[in-house]
Amino acid sequence: MNPIEARMSTTHHEEIHHHVRIYIKVFVALAVGTIVTVLASNVHLGIVLGIIVALLIATVKGSLVAAFFMHLVAERKVIYWVLVLTASFVVAMMGLIMFAHDDQQGRPQGIFAVPQGHVPVHQAEGAPKE
């Protein structure tokens, strides 16, 4: 190994060591996040706040995994574009499903039918009365 190669190799190893230190920190953050989300679920925050807090912690944990373990923090542009495209498809899918949800309210039959026991009391206009 010539001196230049040796120096490059040392720099490379230092870089990887730096990555490893980050991985350990991310691991600690993920473990703490897991404990916090369980503890938070024991506090009576109500339905909406309970859901927001749980999903917020999950999003932070998920972002840490994606950013550092999956190396998204420094990745090529084409991968970001793949993810932007994927995210827009997911949003479209969720959106379409929520439209379908509006459709099903109080409708006792059809493809979006809700079992009778689950149909809310405030039935939509025009829906057959029991």
Binding site: H12, H13, I16, H19, V20, Y23, I24, V26, F27, L30, A31, T34, I35, T37, V38, S41, L45, G46, I47, G50, I51, A54, L55, I57, A58, K61, G62, V65, A66, F69, M70, R76, K77, V78, I79, V82, L83, L85, T86, F89, V90, M93, M94, I97, M98, A100, H101, Q104, Q105, V114, G117, H118, V119, P120
Partner: protein, 203 residues
Amino acid sequence: MSAAIEIPFNSTERPDTGLYNAKLGVWLFLASEVMLFGALFSSYVLLRTGAETWEHGAAFLNVPLATINTLVLIISSVTMVMSWASLKMNNFGRYKLYMGLTILCGVGFLVIKSFEYAHKFETGLWPSTSTFMALYFTMTGLHGLHVIGGMIVNSYLWGPGSKMWHTDPVRFTNRIEVAGLYWHFVDLVWIFLFPTLYLLPGK
């Protein structure tokens, strides 16, 4: 004339994407996986909002076991990324150790999950019991299949597949990186599944 056809850009970067091909390929695969699990999460949202009442998972699911399982998967993600870092530092022995630990964590996760499933069946909770249980078994079942799939690939890369390190170390290191991308994705899905099924309040 050489009989072997060389697959291009499996260890060098392709000039237009700046990536070796397997990496882009795995990311595209993961994009399809996002849609698959996205569809299931969308179903959860639709079924939950459309239902008059909804169970609180913690009332009958084992939260302590699931918490341990979450930690097991997080540890496996760390050992997975450490196995890649070990190869980057030319330490094949360390790679074998960390990849072995990753596979063991996968086994641990499935064993704990099977205890949970067995307990559900013993207490008469089946997919047909309720909408909640149908979602629980579908989502955790599909996730479990992904863990098994990852373990098969990781076991190959730990065992016979690791011979490539001695003939083409760069390509082998890249293989570990993309196998890691998949494994971290499986961990990421669980990070969302855990609160969704076990912790979210009922109504």
